[in-house]
Structure formats: structure tokens, C-alpha cells
């Protein structure tokens, strides 16, 4: 048993070295089901990168193989990753929208000799699970911490925190609390509500009764966001002067047409706004819009995917197409470049992306569409969440 296993491993490694004229990248994401939009954005980001930079690195052709995990399903994710490595012979694993799906794959990496480039999953601890993980998206801690300072600067000292009751929601709650209390504010109440909440009126009543001057909210992007923001308006919280703070998941660009007027003026902090003003972003938005078909569907996972591809291309360059996961990861440690979202670098120690976090406000453009308008920049933000979990 053991011998055949070693032989297979050797054969795999050899084939990687000698005949790699096509390098395969396995991308796992939610391409159907309730989160299909985010998966579509993965593909758009990847397609955009390959459209701009070509589908060849050196002499090697790049081939992307997509696998679908519609909802967080670690067992399925792991089975698919195994299949990608063993059957399809991918040299890189990438994508992963949900944290548990990424966590499930980390134990495989070393044995498979494959680096994992995370294009979304935002829980801080993932990078600690294997030295072969690199992340090009963000963490909930990273995007939720600056908003605490924004809230304090806006003269709000009592805030109620309202989050969806699951991993990222709890992360956001802790991040905000840590940041806000450090800035001298007080979180008067922390509410966790079930993920499957349709009617937010009772929650709004709770917020009103708490006597807070502002509300910090985190919900997964999608239909619940719409209900939450509408309830905030309709129950008289907005007109009552209770300020709204959130990380940018709540006002992702693809939800803005539906949110419309209701979202106007909401302040969020996030790593990327489609409206970001730079030549790099202009080129990216053009390519990604073409890739996704309907530009209104473009949202933040696309940028994680785009930069993820950049990292993988650099890895392939550094290893000359040979399969050497450790060498590939080492090559991108400290890598710095100008992404469409602004200047970024890979922190050599945590292998997580260091980036600017922007304060944005939902505004109405001249043509009647809504967008996230960047108003303030927090430069070179690392991941405060890693220190918190340690």
C-alpha cells in the first residue's frame, strides 16, 4: 500500500516537472445555487485577468477547471479538491467562497504539493492552517475594524451591533467591538440574529429601544441585506438619526440597484469599490464587465479572483512551471503590486494580503445609478484578526 502510494506520488511529481506544457488551476466556488452571483464574479475576475495578461506563462498554457460547491459544504469541497488534484492533476487550487470549504482543503495541500490561493473566504484563521495558503481577498476583521474609528469620528459613542449568527457575523461583531472600544466608544448591546431572517422589523424595534446612536451591522450579501436596509428606512431609524455603519458586504455593487434610494448615504468600509478611480481599475472593470456580460453584476469577489490569478501567475513564473508548492508560495511572500483596488502586498509572515481599506458612501451618479463613493483611505491595513485569534 505504502509503496504504491509513494510511487504514485513520485509519478505525479515527475509528470509535473517533465511534461507540464499545460498548467491546470482548479477553482472551487459557488457557481450555482443561492450564491451563484459570487461564483460568477470569481469567473469574471479570472477571465478578465487572462484576457489582459494572456493565457500563457512562459511556454506553459494555463487551463482553469471549475468545480461547483453551491453552499458551504466542506465534505463536498474536500472531495472535489481531491478529485482536482488526483484526477485532473491541477498544480494550483484557488477560489473558495466559504470558510469551511477552504478549511477542509488545507490538510491536503502538503501531501498534494499544491498551493491554495483563497479568493474570498474571509475568516482570519485559515492562513494559519497550512503554510501553503495565500489569500488575496480580505478578512472580516480587516474590513470591519476601520469602521469603528469612522463611527467614533462621526461623534457616535454608543453603538448597537447587529450581526447574522454565523462565523463571519461573529468575527465582525468582535472586530467592531475591539476597534470601537479601543477608540473610546461603547457597544451597548450585541445582537445576533438567525441567518434565515426575513422580517427585520422586530430587530429595528430592538435597535430603537436600545438607545444607541448608531448601529453596526453585518449580514451576508444578498437578499437579507435588502430586507435589512429597507427595514432600517421604513421603521424610521434613518429619519430618527440613528447612524448606520457596516463593512462593505452590505452594499456590494450588485445589490445596489435593488437597494436603490434606501441605501443612499450608508457608510461602509471595504477593500474594493468598483468605482475606484485608477487606470488599473478602469482596465479591470472594462475586462471584467465584458467577461461577466452584465456590468451590474460585478462585485467584490471578482477582484479577489483577479489578484489571485496575479499571484498564481507569479508563482508559475517563479517555479518555471514545475510543481513545487513551497517554492511557489515562498516566491510571492512580500510580493507587492498595484492592484485595481490600489497598492497591495502579500505579508510574508501571514501570507495574507495587506491593502488599503476605503471608507465609502453610497451615492447617486449622474446617470441615476448608485455606487460606492470612496471618501477616505486607511492605508496598508494588515489583518488585525490574526492577533485576536492567537
Amino acid at each position: 500500500m505504502k509503496r504504491t502510494f509513494l510511487a504514485a506520488l513520485a509519478a505525479l511529481a515527475m509528470s509535473g516537472a517533465a511534461y507540464a506544457d499545460t498548467i491546470k488551476i482548479g477553482v472551487v466556488g459557488p457557481f450555482s445555487g443561492p450564491f451563484a452571483l459570487q461564483g460568477k464574479n470569481f469567473k469574471a475576475g479570472i477571465d478578465a485577468y487572462m484576457a489582459v495578461n494572456g493565457s500563457k506563462v512562459g511556454d506553459d498554457d494555463i487551463e482553469i477547471i471549475y468545480r461547483d460547491v453551491p453552499q458551504a459544504d466542506p465534505a463536498q469541497s474536500k472531495a472535489l479538491a481531491q478529485e482536482l488534484v488526483v484526477k485532473e492533476g491541477v498544480q494550483y487550487l484557488a477560489g473558495f467562497y466559504f470558510t469551511p470549504d477552504a478549511m477542509a482543503v488545507t490538510p491536503l495541500l502538503e501531501q498534494a504539493n499544491v498551493p491554495l490561493v483563497i479568493m474570498n473566504a474571509a475568516t482570519s484563521a485559515i492562513v494559519t492552517k497550512s503554510p501553503l495558503v495565500v489569500r488575496t481577498s480580505f478578512t472580516t476583521w480587516q474590513t470591519s475594524t476601520p469602521i469603528a474609528k469612522v463611527a467614533k469620528d462621526a461623534g457616535v459613542s454608543k453603538v448597537i451591533s447587529v450581526v447574522s449568527d454565523y462565523g463571519p457575523g461573529v468575527d465582525a461583531e468582535n472586530a467592531f467591538k475591539a476597534g470601537f472600544e479601543a477608540a473610546g466608544g461603547q457597544v451597548v448591546e450585541a445582537i445576533r440574529m438567525p441567518l434565515a431572517t426575513n422580517d427585520f422589523s422586530p430587530i429595528m424595534q430592538r435597535i430603537k429601544d436600545s438607545g444607541a446612536e448608531g448601529v453596526f451591522a453585518f449580514l451576508p450579501s444578498g437578499p437579507t441585506t435588502l430586507g435589512f436596509v429597507k427595514a432600517y428606512n421604513e421603521n424610521g431609524l434613518k429619519s430618527g438619526g440613528i447612524k448606520f455603519f457596516a463593512p462593505g458586504d452590505l452594499t456590494q455593487e450588485s445589490d445596489l440597484p435593488a437597494l436603490g434610494e434606501a441605501a443612499l448615504g450608508i457608510q461602509t468600509t471595504f477593500h474594493y469599490a468598483v468605482s475606484h478611480d485608477s487606470p488599473e481599475n478602469k482596465a479591470f472593470v472594462e475586462a471584467a464587465s465584458k467577461a461577466i456580460g452584465n456590468p451590474a453584476e460585478l462585485s467584490f469577489p471578482s477582484i479577489g479572483a483577479y489578484d489571485g490569478m496575479h499571484v498564481i501567475y507569479k508563482m508559475i513564473e517563479a517555479t518555471g512551471g514545475e510543481q513545487d508548492a513551497q517554492k511557489a508560495v515562498d516566491a510571492v511572500k512580500g510580493l507587492a503590486w498595484t492592484s485595481p483596488r490600489g497598492p497591495v502586498s502579500i505579508d510574508p509572515e501571514s501570507r495574507h494580503i495587506t491593502q488599503n481599506i476605503y471608507l465609502r458612501e453610497v451615492a447617486k451618479a449622474d446617470d441615476g445609478t448608485y455606487y460606492n463613493k470612496e471618501v477616505q483611505t486607511f492605508e496598508k491595513q494588515g489583518d488585525p484578526g490574526l492577533a485576536a485569534v492567537k
Binding site: 451563484a36 445582537i191 438567525p194 422586530p202 437578499p223 421604513e234 451590474a296
Partner: protein, 288 residues
């Protein structure tokens, strides 16, 4: 006191929205005995049509609703003819398989045609904004939904209990063979009831779109809620469904206000408790 009133208002509004969307399912499940898991899919189609009509074509809200109802019925007719007709009277589990299959197909098609983003049905100016009730504000469209719910409940009750068609329908349900022998064209009765159920689904999908936004996964996301509400009420009973919606709406809203952390526990424990006390649903009759 103010808080209690406020919760009561929210509960009423939420319950009525649930009622408008699920009552069509009560008709298919109770009167036609089809476990129609594709109910949410029809509501979603209605929402998409209304969204397209009102947002992209700029039609009036009322017109968009009418278009959604009849458009959805039009889409449903071939589905009924080709697929549903095969499962009338079939084992429940077969019906589950068929209707889940239909739901999957509709989700896939909606995702392909309309894309995965959220769609809204823009409200007319009269329904926008909030009404001040003195002690709190409530969204105007919520009041509209409450009124719609009451109207639907009354109309259905009248149609089933007081009209000739209602008599035929009840006869066909209780004993199809006997009804047919007495000259009731059961096939037509079934087709009309199905159309009504689908129309109600579409109507609910549009009216409830503010609360349950339209997107491709709508069809599955809220299916469980609809199924629970209808069964707790007792399938086929209009007053039962109304009572169940108000009760569950109330429990859900109160739970979410008092201890949101355990909101789900509240709701489902209540469901279990109700069914243990009323094993046939709130208004379930002794023997069907």
C-alpha cells in the same frame, strides 16, 4: 405597552404577507392533494414578470400585478397539462420528486435568463414611505399587504363556500369519481383550481417582494416557510391558514424581538408544539 403594540403590528404585517404568498399552496395541497413544492417557483415567476413590467417597461404597479398573475398562469398552463396532470393522485413522494424537479428547472432557467442579482418591483409613490400610527411608523406597503391578505381570504372563502364552482370543487375533492358521474367535469375544475393557485402564488410573490426579494433561489429559499405555514394551518383550510400565519408570524416576530439569538429555536419549537397538540393542523378535519 407601546412595545407590545408595536410587535403586534409587525406580527400582523409579517403574518399577512406570509398568508398572501402561501394561501395558493394551501389550495393545491389541501384541495387538489398535490404536494406542490414548486409553489415558490411560481411566486418567483410572478415577481420576475412584475419586476420586468414595472422596472424595465415602466408600467404602472397595478398593471404589473395583473400582468404577473396572468403571465404566470399562462406559463403554468403547459406545465399543468404536461406534468402536473400526471401526478394527480400519485403517491406524495412521487409528487415531491416531480415538483422539486420542476423547481430546479425553473431556478436554472431564471438564473440563466435574468441573472443571479436581486430584482425589485418598484412601488408606486402612494405605497412608498411610511405611515405614522402615532406610536410608531409602519411602511405603507405593509398596510397594503395586510389589506391584500384580507381581500384574498374573503374572496377565497366566498368562492369555495358560496359559489357553484366551490360546490363542484369540494365535490371533486371529496370523491372525484362520484362527482364526475354526477356531471361535474373534474378535469376542468382541477385546471381552474390550479390556475387560481398559481395566480395567487404570483400575486403573493409580487405583493411580498418587499419582504422576500426576487432572485433565482427564491423558489427554494422560502419553500420550507410556505410548507410549514400551510401544514400548521391544516392544508386546504382558508381560516386555518390565516390563523397559522398570524400565530407563526406573531411567534416569529416576538421571538426575534425578545431574544433574536434563539429566534429559530422559538419558531420551530412552536411548530412542533402546535403539531403535537393539533396533529392534523389547526383547522384540519378529522378524516379526509
Amino acid at each position: 405597552m407601546q412595545t407590545v403594540l408595536s410587535i403586534a403590528i409587525d406580527a400582523l404585517a409579517y403574518g399577512m404577507v406570509l398568508f398572501v404568498i402561501s394561501i395558493g399552496l394551501s389550495v393545491t395541497m389541501g384541495l387538489m392533494r398535490v404536494v406542490n413544492l414548486a409553489h415558490g417557483a411560481f411566486a418567483m415567476i410572478g415577481g420576475y414578470i412584475a419586476s420586468y413590467a414595472a422596472r424595465d417597461l415602466g408600467l404602472a404597479y397595478g398593471f404589473a400585478i395583473v400582468l404577473a398573475v396572468f403571465g404566470t398562469i399562462l406559463i403554468a398552463i403547459p406545465i399543468e397539462r404536461l406534468l402536473y396532470r400526471r401526478i394527480y393522485g400519485a403517491p406524495e413522494l412521487t409528487q415531491v420528486l416531480m415538483t422539486i424537479g420542476i423547481t430546479f428547472c425553473i431556478i436554472g432557467i431564471a438564473n440563466y435568463v435574468f441573472g443571479p442579482t436581486l430584482k425589485t418591483v418598484p412601488l408606486p409613490p402612494q405605497l412608498q414611505g411610511s405611515v405614522d400610527l402615532g406610536f410608531r411608523a409602519i411602511a405603507t406597503h405593509r398596510l397594503f399587504a395586510i389589506l391584500c391578505g384580507l381581500a384574498v381570504a374573503l374572496a377565497l372563502w366566498y368562492a369555495i363556500e358560496k359559489t357553484a364552482f366551490g360546490v363542484k370543487l369540494r365535490a371533486s375533492v371529496d370523491n372525484a369519481a362520484m362527482a364526475a358521474a354526477l356531471g361535474v367535469r373534474t378535469e376542468i375544475v382541477y385546471a381552474v383550481s390550479f390556475a387560481v393557485a398559481v395566480g395567487l402564488a404570483a400575486f403573493g410573490g409580487v405583493v411580498g417582494a418587499e419582504l422576500l426579494p426576487v432572485e433565482p433561489y427564491y423558489a427554494l429559499r422560502y419553500m420550507v416557510t410556505f410548507l410549514v405555514v400551510v401544514s400548521v394551518g391544516g392544508a386546504g383550510s382558508i381560516p386555518g391558514a390565516l390563523l397559522a400565519c398570524l400565530l407563526l408570524g406573531g411567534i416569529d416576530t416576538t421571538g426575534r424581538y425578545l431574544m433574536p439569538e434563539f429566534g429559530e429555536f422559538f419558531f420551530y419549537l412552536a411548530v412542533i408544539a402546535i403539531i403535537c397538540v393539533f396533529p392534523r393542523g389547526l383547522a384540519g378535519r378529522a378524516k379526509g
